[in-house]
């Protein structure tokens, strides 16, 4: 059935066994992200030292797409500089809008599993929730509270 194709193993695996869904007591950036249409609600927690994201996690509830997307995102941005993380976020955003190149989608590794979201307008907000929150967290808030 068609439904199987979108909810692929990468997505369901990150939803059922998320690696980064836990508390991060020593986080220096904490930001809530809400998607009112699905009721997804997450808290993104980041530890930033000298402009590098040294650790990250999220807690909260939501649909499989929002949860898996946030988990995949954290796997990709930990160890990266803020600029690199934001750049990955931009490519992800391009993929969701359907304007990313093959190479760009390739560079997104597991996040490429969410490519089909570009054909599901009702679920775009779920997929981008973590990424949107990251962008906000590393924006003004990140400047003021980051190391």
């Amino acid at each position: 059935m068609e439904g199987n194709r979108f909810y692929n193993e990468i997505l369901t695996e990150h939803n059922i066994h998320p690696e980064f869904k836990h508390d991060l007591p020593d986080a220096d950036i904490v930001l809530e992200g809400i998607n009112p249409s699905c009721g997804d609600d997450i808290f993104l927690k980041l530890k930033v030292e000298n402009g590098v994201i040294t650790d990250g996690a999220f807690v909260g509830d939501g649909c499989a797409i929002s949860q898996a997307s946030a988990d995949i995102m954290l796997g990709m941005i930990i160890g990266k500089t803020k600029e690199e993380a934001l750049h990955i976020g931009e490519i992800f955003s391009k993929m969701i809008k359907g304007t990313a190149t093959e190479e760009e989608i390739e560079s997104l590794e597991e996040a490429g599993a969410l490519q089909d979201i570009s054909h599901m307008p009702a679920r775009v907000k779920c997929a981008v929730l973590g990424w949107r929150t990251l962008k906000e967290a590393l924006g003004e808030n990140g400047q003021s509270t980051g190391a």
Binding site: M1, G3, T12, N15, I16, G39
Partner: protein, 405 residues
């Protein structure tokens, strides 16, 4: 009853392959309703209630005839007790702004149930906020039932308005509004009944229910969108101030003031949705022709079947009562570990249209301890085959989301 025959009356069901199980949100419309609207525009269109040429008289007659059909449909005493609105929400807002703000004072109480759709809650929050009145709640049990003794204790000398739905859009259970209306009247208060979910599925007699106000939408009972009804007892409507003001609701206007038209036109400011009213009347005639008895038989058959099959699925939980009698065609459910939006996404991939979310009833879901849920809602034109497709899809969802069955 011949479901397959009736389905042919609904162009959308014939022309698209959708398994449409979101009838509690809006129903589909039969050809006769679409034709009635078109015929109004093709043959009788003029601005009703004004104009003396024959065409304008025809338009007025068509509109007022629709009012008579609506009055008859819910057994109102007089056609003048029917006010055409856009929908249930507008009907309730009319009562809240007009009757509510002019009758409720600081220290008074307004009573609603916890299972109200937001449209029968927010207008009362507004009245309470604006007047200094207190908003109180009738709680329901997990099966959706109300304890009448508890309800009676909540209705006091301070109670001015009680607003309750006849059928919850989440639970599908029929509330004992007649009994509650008697309690309300003993204390000298008035009761508004939200009939959005009841009117498409059962005979309603507003006089027998002895409700003071009764609100419902056309689009949920096979009629067009943008036409709804407010029934109000004549004595109440007559002394209420207008809700909206402007054209077609006046007798005479000077620079400083106006004399308002008689009920019901006092409450129908501006050019009315005459074609919508005509379409709604056609929908009511169509329903009467089929008869609620046959409609209910089919809806019950499907509901009972789905409830029975879902009951056997260990990770699926039904919201509300176990008995199909208490569902009015509505089956709201959750699947362990799977978010309702993912459930509806997978169902929609299988061609099944259902609703997922909080169903505009957040206080009820919170009361029941659920964040959100998926809802399938049946109409008499749904088939057993469609119900089976739903059951089949639901039974595979956990597996498709990576969980063992």
């Amino acid at each position: 009853m011949d479901v397959i025959q009736y389905r042919k009356d609904f162009p959308l069901l014939v022309k698209t392959g959708n398994i449409y199980l979101d009838n509690a949100a809006t129903s589909q419309r039969p050809q006769c309703v679409l034709d009635a609207e078109t015929e109004f525009y093709e043959r009788h269109n003029a601005n009703p209630l004004r104009g003396f040429y024959p065409l304008a008289v025809e338009a007025t007659d068509a509109y007022e005839k629709a009012r008579e059909v609506a009055a008859d449909f819910i057994h109102a005493k007089l056609p003048g007790e029917i006010i055409f609105t856009r929908n249930t929400t507008e009907s309730i807002n009319l009562v809240a702004y007009s009757y509510g703000l002019s009758h409720v004072k600081a220290g008074d109480e307004i009573l609603v149930s916890v299972m109200e759709h937001h449209s029968n809650l927010l207008p009362w929050q507004m009245v309470a906020r604006n007047t200094g009145a207190t908003l109180k709640f009738m709680e329901c049990k997990p099966d959706g039932s109300l304890d009448l003794a508890e309800v009676e204790a909540l209705i006091t000398e301070k109670t001015k308005i009680v607003a309750i739905t006849q059928v919850s859009n989440v639970l599908g259970r029929v509330n004992p509004v007649k009994e509650i209306a008697e309690m309300v009247h003993r204390k000298g208060a008035v009761i508004l009944v939200d009939g959005a979910q009841s009117t498409p599925h059962m005979e309603v007699d507003v006089q027998e229910l002895s409700c003071d106000f009764f609100a419902f939408s056309g689009h949920k009972l096979l009629g067009p969108m943008g036409i709804g009804v407010l029934y109000g007892r004549q004595e109440l409507l007559e002394e209420m101030p207008p809700f909206l003001s402007g054209g077609e609701m006046i007798e005479s206007v000077t620079r400083e003031s106006a004399v308002y038209a008689e009920v019901p036109h006092k409450f129908e400011a501006g050019t009315v949705n005459a074609a919508g009213a005509v379409g709604l009347a056609a929908a009511m005639e169509y329903i009467k022709k089929i008869g609620f008895a046959d409609m209910q038989k089919q809806e019950h058959l499907l509901t009972a079947h789905v409830l029975e099959e879902m009951e056997r699925m260990p990770h699926v939980h039904i919201v509300g009562d176990k008995n199909a009698e208490n569902h009015t065609g509505i089956v709201t459910f959750t699947i362990e570990d799977v978010h309702p939006h993912d459930v509806s996404e997978i169902l929609s991939n299988d061609g099944i249209c259902v609703r997922a979310g909080h169903h505009c009833a957040q206080p009820l879901l919170k009361h029941l301890g659920i964040g959100s849920a998926t809802r399938a809602s049946f109409m008499f034109y749904n088939t057993l085959e469609e119900a089976d497709r739903l059951i089949e899809s639901v039974s595979t969802i956990r597996e498709r989301m990576g969980y063992g069955r």
